[in-house]
Structure formats: structure tokens, C-alpha cells
């Protein structure tokens, strides 16, 4: 099934655009960020692939000078009972990515969580605001340079 996915993607988008690798039987595809929406739509609507459930969307902070933040899409096909993974990378100075809420409605809250935790902006998102931290919070907690204990005084506490 993994080979079928890679073959169809190469046929549609060209040989060199998407890198693929396998680990413990799972396929990971690295997609450039401009074509992420088209790849997702193709994977969802193509007859033999039909990846109609977006199981998970998360961010990752690689802490490298180039391509610091990554966004990972875990897809699942109800018909074929198969999982694959897509990855895109964005730079630290311009963490912007097009949204996939037009492909899967469930990406809405997942992208809000990724914005809250990492600061990655999704263009075209209907309602991009924080989901876990209070609205006035200024930092993005899951970045590697944010300490575990937090910044003292960043969220006010009521008086005793």
C-alpha cells in the first residue's frame, strides 16, 4: 500500500518534489509547503487512496537554524485501513502555512492548538486564536527556548 501511494504521488506531482522514507512500516512524506493543500486534497479524493480522516495535526520544533518548525499530518483511510504521514517545514522568521480546513473540517482546532503552542500562522483559517492558554499570553509554550516552569508573572493570579 505504501508503494501505491508513492507511485500515485510521483505520477501526479513529479518525481523529485516529494521525499519519502519508511520506519517501522510507516510511510513519511516530506512535502514542500506551497503544495501542501493540493497534496492533501489529492490524497483525500483519489479513488484508490481515500485518506478521509485526519487523525492528527501537530507541530514540532526541530531547533535548527534553517527550517526550524515542522507541521506533521497523520492521515488515515477508513476504506483501506492504512496510515501515512506528511511533513512540511517552515522557517523561523516567517512561520506561515496555508490551512487545510477546506479539505478536512477537523483541522480547525488542531491548527489553533499548533498556533497556540508554536506560533505557526495558518493563512485562510476561519478563526485563529489561542485554545489552551489565556488570550493575553504572549509566549508560545512548546518552543524549545521556553522554560518548563514558565515565565513568572506571565499570567496574573487573583489576590488572596
Amino acid at each position: 500500500m505504501n508503494n501505491l501511494v508513492v507511485k500515485k504521488l510521483n505520477a501526479r506531482f513529479g518525481e523529485s518534489k516529494i521525499e519519502s522514507s519508511e520506519f517501522r512500516g510507516e510511510l513519511t512524506l516530506i512535502v514542500p509547503k506551497e503544495s501542501i493543500v493540493e497534496v492533501c486534497r489529492f490524497l483525500k479524493e483519489e479513488d484508490e487512496l481515500k485518506f478521509d480522516l485526519l487523525a492528527d495535526l501537530c507541530g514540532i520544533d526541530m531547533y535548527t537554524p534553517v527550517k526550524r518548525f515542522g507541521v506533521i499530518y497523520n492521515l488515515y483511510s477508513l476504506k483501506n485501513k492504512h496510515r501515512i504521514r506528511l511533513k512540511t517545514f517552515v522557517e523561523e522568521e516567517e512561520p506561515k502555512l496555508p490551512t487545510v480546513t477546506s479539505v478536512w473540517g477537523t483541522a480547525d482546532w488542531h491548527e489553533r492548538e499548533t498556533f497556540d503552542m508554536f506560533g505557526i500562522l495558518f493563512e485562510g483559517h476561519p478563526d485563529l486564536r489561542r485554545v489552551y492558554m489565556p488570550e493575553e499570553f504572549e509566549y508560545h509554550p512548546l518552543r524549545k527556548d521556553f522554560p518548563l516552569m514558565g515565565v513568572p508573572g506571565s499570567i496574573p493570579l487573583p489576590k488572596k
Partner: protein, 179 residues
């Protein structure tokens, strides 16, 4: 409130104080601030096996205006702290607070950016119950210790003139209940 103001201190008011405190301690209506896992043990504490209504806490009124003691059960985050404080302010005097579980006592196993390390940073706490989560028997023990405190007329929060005689002593070490 404040029988001493109306009648002055005498043997009559002392006996009346004791009688009123006896009534209070046997009908403590809890306000369950059930936030996370400790709330499940609090529900078990109200359930059929560890029945709390035999101690007088028959109804768990979820309205702060109708309750005496607030049992804060669960991890309090900074976002939730404002809400807990608001509910505490709405409770009428005399009122007591039980900090249930290690998350409310000291932050518990979560030493992170979003968890308040102990609710005594913004609430006056009368009793700490340790355990993660504390067994319902432990919570019943805490309730019984609280009843002793009510009989003597002590309270960390609330107005200083409440009928009970003993002035609230803010320097008193708080009883820590071993889990």
C-alpha cells in the same frame, strides 16, 4: 452573625455559640469544585459505598450561595484560578476550604508553566488532604477534622466577627492529613 455584638459576652452566648456550632458542623453542605481526577473520588465519596450524607452533607449544591465548605478537587491552572476565586467570593460567611489532593496543595506532579503551585497562593485554606487522588476514606477523615474545627469556631477565611467566639488565628499551623 456576631452574637457578641447583640448580646455581649456571657455564659448564655457561649452555650448558644456551642449549640450553633454543633448545628453547623453536622450539616456542612459542600460546594464541589470538581476540576479533574480528584472529582471522581469526590463523587465516590458521595456515592453509595463511602456515603457522605450520613455526616450531614446530604446535598452537593452546585450553587456557591447555598454552601458552607468548598472542596477544591483537581489541578488548578492559572486560567481556572480566576474562576475559583470568584466562586469563593460568592460564598456567604462562615466558609471553609478543603484543598483535596496534592495538585491543590502544592502543584502535585505538575511543575509546569500553567499550573498554580498550591491554591493557598490565592485562597485561604483550612485543611490539606494529600494523596493522588486521596481515597474517599481519607476525605471522610478530613471532613471529621473539619467538623472539630467548626465546633471550636475556627476559620481561615470569612469575616473575623463570625459567631463562634474564637478569633481566627492566622498564625496557627494547618493540620496536614497524611494520605
Amino acid at each position: 452573625m456576631g452574637l457578641e455584638h447583640a448580646l455581649g459576652e456571657s455564659i448564655l452566648t457561649t452555650k448558644l455559640d456551642a449549640a450553633i456550632n454543633w448545628c453547623r458542623k453536622n450539616s456542612l453542605w459542600p460546594m464541589p469544585m470538581g476540576i479533574s481526577c480528584c472529582a471522581i473520588e469526590m463523587m465516590a465519596f458521595a456515592g453509595p459505598r463511602f456515603d457522605v450524607s450520613r455526616f450531614g452533607s446530604e446535598v452537593f449544591r452546585f450553587s456557591p450561595r447555598q454552601s458552607d465548605v468548598m472542596i477544591v478537587a483537581g489541578t488548578t491552572t492559572y486560567k481556572m484560578a480566576k474562576v475559583v476565586r470568584k466562586i469563593y467570593d460568592q460564598m456567604p460567611d462562615p466558609k471553609w476550604v478543603i484543598a483535596m489532593g496534592v495538585c491543590t496543595s502544592s502543584g502535585g506532579m505538575y511543575r509546569t508553566y500553567s499550573v498554580v503551585q498550591g491554591i493557598d497562593q490565592f485562597l485561604p485554606v483550612d485543611l490539606y488532604v494529600s494523596g493522588c487522588p486521596p481515597r474517599p476514606d481519607n476525605l471522610i477523615n478530613a471532613l471529621m477534622k473539619l467538623q472539630e474545627m467548626v465546633q471550636k469556631g475556627e476559620s481561615k477565611g470569612g469575616s473575623p466577627n463570625y459567631a463562634g467566639g474564637a478569633k481566627p488565628d492566622k498564625r496557627q499551623p494547618l493540620p496536614v492529613v497524611a494520605g
